[in-house]
């Protein structure tokens, strides 16, 4: 479970996130949308402990990320928008390293690596050094690393960017399964079709404020009509801009 409570973050005079409150239940698939610079990545970075809120609290599986960071991070996984791998490690060595960080025993680690390598089609290159991987290959290995310890919370930032259509389908299936198995999935994306297709609930952040929150139907109503997510998104965010 993710609990974000009145979280605020400023960079100098600019308020990036303003008193944001959100709760994502176990098993919920949540999509986090917003224009560029709206505060999505700042929120995610605060959730995973890379930024500290100026005010408010974030609890992951009941652990405060500020006061109990190691326990909070043990139950979460994060897939950043720019995949990071060690150039001089092979994909397999990277996954083994990640497994050891989450203290998976050898048998479970090997089983999970084999399973994920099959599902994400990593076997052809998993034993090559990562320096030769394409963006999509790196992204698949990073996603495998994030799923390795079967996290109770998964935070993904633009997970489909750089993936081929088959991999996109596989990743979607995996995320759905994870959510069905009881994990909270928090996905930040600009691909509205993916959010529309997968998310049970959607939040739209704009100028650091949570401009809209609810199911797709709630957002349509908030946008004032029976439109798709794209129209709702544009209306909600443009209304805000005019108001400001």
């Amino acid at each position: 479970m993710i609990e974000i409570e009145k979280v605020t973050k400023s960079f100098g005079p600019k308020r990036a996130v303003n008193a944001l409150s959100l709760t994502i239940s176990p098993g919920e698939f949540f999509a986090f949308l917003g224009p560029n610079g709206a505060g999505k990545t700042t929120t995610i970075k605060m959730m995973v402990g890379l930024l500290r809120p100026d005010d408010g609290a974030i609890r992951l599986c009941g652990h405060d990320i500020r006061t109990d960071p190691v326990a909070a991070k043990a139950c979460i996984s994060y897939v950043p928008d720019e995949p990071y791998l060690y150039d001089k490690l092979t994909g397999r060595e990277f996954l083994e390293f990640v497994g050891r960080m989450y203290r998976l025993d050898r048998a479970r680690r090997d089983r999970r690596i084999a399973d994920l390598a099959d599902r994400l089609a990593l076997n052809d290159f998993l034993d090559d050094l990562a320096e030769g991987y394409s963006h999509g290959m790196k992204q698949r290995v990073v996603i495998a690393g994030a799923l390795l310890h079967e996290p109770r919370i998964l935070v993904v930032d633009e997970p489909m960017v750089g993936l081929d259509p088959r991999s996109v389908r596989v990743v979607k299936d995996i995320l759905r399964e994870l959510s069905r198995a009881g994990a909270s999935v928090f996905m930040s994306t600009h691909t509205l079709a993916v959010a529309e297709e997968m998310a049970a609930r959607i939040g739209i952040i704009h100028h650091g404020d949570l401009a809209a929150l609810g199911t797709l139907d709630d957002l349509r109503r908030a946008a004032g009509g029976e439109t798709g997510l794209e129209d709702s998104f544009l209306r909600i965010t443009s209304d805000e801009e005019e108001a400001s």
């Binding site: 326990a71 043990a74 950043p80 990071y84 490690l89």
Partner: protein
């Protein structure tokens, strides 16, 4: 050691092992060339140290044995004190990038690892990067001292422990300083780090001026008196509170077989290293995460309107260049000036040279015999040229590699790729020429050297700057590392090492052709035909070498750069 640190170190070992295995892909010639260069450099340093010891023995052996010992004590203490300051600063700079700006750190901090473990891992990694040059420099010294003094066998393991402790302590000092700066100072840690470097340099300058004053005051006394005065001032480096002195004193004690004193110094150093390590871990536990968060939240400010106006003026003032070339040069100037860690290092080293040159009249070098004036001016030329070669290696060579992930921006521009390379050459040449030419003319003016000598030096610096800039840009294009965004790592690769070695060779050749004939003959000639006969062939030879050093690397670099696929 904590399991988290062990896990991270095992990861680093694995990556290092893979990198070593990956060397097989590189040409054997390349590896052999690197090893041979390293060996030659090592042997060269060993020879210089041995010759220094012999020189001291010749001059001060026998009746002045006590003075020889004292000079050696003071010399080593000053050497290790300077190294300690430089190593601590270098560690601080590397630690800043590794702790607050690296992608790996962000990756690790989002995992269930303790922040102090990540700090310790990053510091250990930083020690390797910052200390290899120290070990490379100090091992020939240790070997020369041990062999020359016929040190007992335990001198060598003892020296190794002392050097290891020294490097660890400098790293801990740099790391703690970076952490405190990141946590408590409100400005950008990078700017504050630059400020700290400037403050340390200022202290060094004040100390140097004090030393000069003391030297000047005792000039009219006997040689022994002024020597004692000067050594007395340098005695600060032998303060029993300075860890650098424990190392130099411990080293000499080991060499002289004074085991009890050596062991005492080693214990003192060991205990301090452990204490500093403990302080660093406690500081990391309390301050690392808050400092990291603060560093991520800092805004990036543009320069003032006056500075921006300065850039515009510079762009207009660049003569005879196309618009795109000027825009590229100004981009590099802006990137350089907006990175305080880069410009502060240049300012410190050339600033120190400048302060020394300005004070040469205080040292009364201008009143010296022509022999000494010529020798001093030659040494100044050598010092400036070699300093310049380290800076072109450190800052110009990695310029192209640092375009790295942004390379598509330059790659897609509707301009000839060669112009990108030429812009970097002009940037390097313009900057280095401005600084080094001013310094050399200042030095000659302070020494009261005649106009023709100043002109000779001016032309020589022109050759030096053009050649060094072209070498750095050319080898940078021949051996780019577009994946790496850490300049220290780019510089420590094959291309960087090759560039440094070629730069030193080039400087040696130019000085040998141009400066040495004049300075050797200049002591006996007063000008006229003899002088011209001694100098002109050298100038012609240097011009030829200079032209080759500019044209060849740039041509090869352009060819490689035009074929470069990203």
């Amino acid at each position: 050691m904590r399991p988290g640190i062990l896990l991270l170190l095992s990861l680093r070992n694995r990556a290092a092992w893979n990198a070593v295995c990956d060397l097989r892909r590189h040409s054997r010639t390349k590896i052999v060339v690197i090893l041979l260069f390293a060996l030659a450099l090592w042997l060269g340093l060993y020879w210089i140290f041995m010759d220094g010891f012999r020189f001291m023995d010749r001059g001060l052996g026998g009746t002045l044995e006590g003075l020889r010992t004292y000079i050696l004590d003071v010399g080593l203490a000053v050497f290790f004190l300077s190294l300690f300051v430089m190593l601590a600063i270098s560690n601080g700079i590397i630690a800043y990038g590794a702790l607050f700006r690296s992608e790996e750190t962000a990756f690790l901090l989002a995992r269930p690892l303790r922040a102090p473990d990540i700090f310790a891992y990053k510091m250990l990694e930083g020690i390797l990067f910052s200390s290899w040059a120290f070990f490379f420099l100090v091992f020939p010294l240790v070997a020369a001292l041990g062999i020359y003094d016929r040190a007992p066998w335990y001198y060598y393991p003892g020296a190794l422990l002392l050097m290891g402790g020294f490097a660890l302590l400098a790293a801990a000092a740099g790391g703690i300083a970076t952490l405190l700066v990141g946590r408590f100072l409100t400005r950008s840690p990078r700017r504050v780090l630059a400020l700290l470097i400037l403050i340390v340099s200022l202290v060094a300058i004040v100390w140097a001026l004090n030393l000069i004053g003391s030297y000047r005051a005792s000039l009219d006394r006997s040689g022994e008196v002024w020597m004692q005065r000067v050594l007395g001032k340098l005695g600060l480096s032998r303060s029993p509170l300075l860890p650098s002195y424990w190392v130099s004193d411990g080293l000499l004690a080991f060499a002289r077989g004074e085991l009890a004193r050596a062991a005492y110094r080693l214990e003192l150093l060991g205990a301090t290293v452990l204490f500093a390590g403990m302080v660093a871990v406690h500081a990391a536990r309390r301050f690392y995460l808050p400092a990291y968060h603060r560093a991520q939240a800092l805004g990036r400010r543009r320069g003032t309107r006056a500075v921006e106006g300065g850039y515009a003026l510079m762009e207009r003032a660049l003569p005879g260049m196309s618009d795109d070339l000027r825009a590229l040069i100004v981009k590099d100037v802006k990137s350089f000036l907006r990175d305080p860690v880069q410009w502060s290092q240049v300012l410190v080293f050339f600033g120190l040279l400048g302060v020394y040159f300005i004070n040469m009249r205080n040292l009364r070098y201008d009143l010296d015999q022509p022999f000494w004036k010529h020798l001093i001016s030659l040494l100044n030329v050598i010092a400036t040229s070699l300093t310049l070669s380290t800076f072109t290696s450190r800052f110009i060579f990695p310029l192209l590699s640092l375009e790295g992930r942004k390379f598509w921006i330059l790659g897609l521009l509707p301009i000839a790729r060669r112009n990108i390379l030429y812009s970097k050459f002009w940037f390097a040449f313009g900057g280095s020429f401005l600084v080094s030419e001013s310094l050399i003319l200042l030095s000659d003016a302070m020494l009261g050297l005649p106009g023709p000598v100043m002109a000779l030096h001016a032309v020589m610096m022109l050759f030096v700057c053009a050649g060094l800039s072209a070498l750095a840009v050319g080898t940078g294009a021949l051996y780019p590392d577009l994946r790496e965004d850490n300049p220290s790592r780019i510089v420590s690769g094959f291309g960087g090492t090759l560039n440094l070695v070629l730069s030193v060779l080039y400087v040696t050749l130019i000085i040998a052709f141009m400066a040495v004939p004049y300075h050797v003959t200049g002591m006996s000639f007063s000008g006229g035909e003899g002088l011209r006969a001694a100098v002109l062939p050298g100038v012609a030879a240097a011009a030829l070498v200079g032209l080759c050093a500019v044209i060849l690397p740039l041509r090869l670099g352009v060819r490689a750069f035009e074929k470069l696929e990203v």
